[in-house]
């Protein structure tokens, strides 16, 4: 049981370090996806531990929300890229103009 959670926490940590260090907005976004996936693994593991399917349902909802988030997030990245010709998170330091 605990080894699944250790794997999940390792993946979550790697994703968090990626969010902190990478500058490309798309890669930052992929790291966020990695963190979401890591939590899903923990949910599925806990579902097996407790012997009910609620954990799997939550993981399913996380996937739905992640899909919606990706659509909007990538659209925002595209809009910023169109105006600034850059996808670096350092360049988008003003909310307007």
């Amino acid at each position: 049981m605990s080894h699944y959670l250790v794997l999940s926490s390792l993946l979550f940590t790697i994703g968090a370090v990626g969010v902190l260090t990478r500058r490309n907005a798309i890669v930052v976004f992929m790291c966020v996806e990695l963190m979401l996936n890591a939590t899903n693994l923990a949910f599925v593991s806990f579902a097996k531990l407790h012997g009910n399917l609620d954990g799997q349902i939550i993981a399913f909802f996380v996937m739905v929300v992640a899909a919606a988030e990706v659509v909007v997030g990538l659209a925002i990245i595209m809009t910023i890229f169109r105006t600034r010709r850059s996808s670096s998170v350092d360049d988008a330091n003003l909310l307007k103009y």
């Binding site: 049981m1 605990s2 080894h3 699944y4 959670l5 250790v6 794997l7 926490s9 390792l10 993946l11 979550f12 940590t13 790697i14 994703g15 968090a16 370090v17 990626g18 902190l20 260090t21 500058r23 490309n24 798309i26 992929m30 790291c31 996806e33 990695l34 693994l41 599925v44 593991s45 579902a47 097996k48 531990l49 407790h50 012997g51 399917l53 609620d54 799997q56 349902i57 993981a59 399913f60 909802f61 996937m63 739905v64 929300v65 992640a66 899909a67 919606a68 990706v70 659509v71 909007v72 990538l74 659209a75 925002i76 990245i77 595209m78 809009t79 169109r82 996808s87 670096s88 350092d90």
Partner: protein, 255 residues
């Protein structure tokens, strides 16, 4: 257990590669490996529905969307190595190690009860069990999800929409612009079509018999090789001589 260790090593290695890889496309492909490994881990843990949804939604839809956007933004975009905040990488690494250590040792020392297992919950089949919960206890959350998806789709459409800066030019405006530009408004003269030659690398002839430079393809003339080698019908003579022969033949018929 063997499955777990293989997949765990592969997924952690791929995740590490993802954050250290300079090119965003490689990061996306490594993320695909992590997601496929997680799908297999779900399948091992009695969650076949989630395993398939993981493959279809994450590796199928979300990652392809990432690759599409990478294609639009430019595949070759790499991270700049300049740190905006000095020492950010170092401190992020230290914070990551601390956070990871905290989680790993926390879970490592926690005492878990024995796995209950999903044999009872999956008695009717995993999909049926999930459906009973989604359309039963979680039906309200499920309905709210539909509103979320519609909002996300609308938001993406609004963000991706681009207003025209000026109205679309009509055919009349395009034509006027072309004539006012002062350069030759019509088509360029077509390359030579003679009695004996019909090829794009043969120049068109002006009424006085001279060669029209406009009709020559700049790429073909830039190659600088001898057209006599490409055309067997030139009879081994150079282009200019062949043209002269053609002209002579035409003048003779007119006399």
């Amino acid at each position: 257990m063997v499955t777990f260790w293989i997949l765990a090593v592969v997924s952690v290695a791929a995740a590490l590669g993802m954050i250290f890889q300079k090119k965003a496309v490689y990061s996306a492909l490594l993320l695909a490996i992590v997601m496929l490994c997680l799908a297999a881990l779900y399948a091992v843990q009695d969650a076949p529905f989630l395993a398939l949804v993981q493959v279809i939604v994450y590796t199928g839809a979300v990652l392809m969307l990432f690759l599409f956007v990478l294609m639009l933004v430019g595949v070759s975009t790499t991270d700049s190595l300049v740190e905006t905040i000095s020492g950010q990488r170092l401190w992020a690494g230290i914070a990551g190690l601390g956070f990871g250590g905290l989680l790993v040792f926390g879970f490592g020392s926690a005492v878990f009860s024995e796995d209950v297992g999903l044999a009872a919950a999956n008695a009717e089949g995993n999909v049926v069990g999930l459906a009973r919960l989604i359309f039963g206890r979680y039906v309200f959350a499920f309905e709210v999800t539909s509103a979320l998806l519609i909002t996300a789709a609308l938001g993406a459409m609004v963000l991706a929409h681009k207003e025209r800066a000026r109205p679309k030019a009509t055919q009349r405006e395009l034509s006027e612009e072309r004539f006012k530009s002062g350069t030759h408004p019509g088509n360029l003269p077509a390359s030579g079509t003679y009695a004996r030659h019909n090829a794009v690398d043969m120049p068109a002839l002006l009424p006085d018999g001279s060669v029209s430079e406009l009709s020559l393809n700049p790429v073909l003339t830039g190659r600088g090789d001898d057209p006599a080698e490409r055309h067997t019908d030139l009879g081994g003579v150079s282009e200019a001589e062949a043209i002269e022969e053609d002209l002579k033949a035409v003048q003779e018929t007119q006399q």
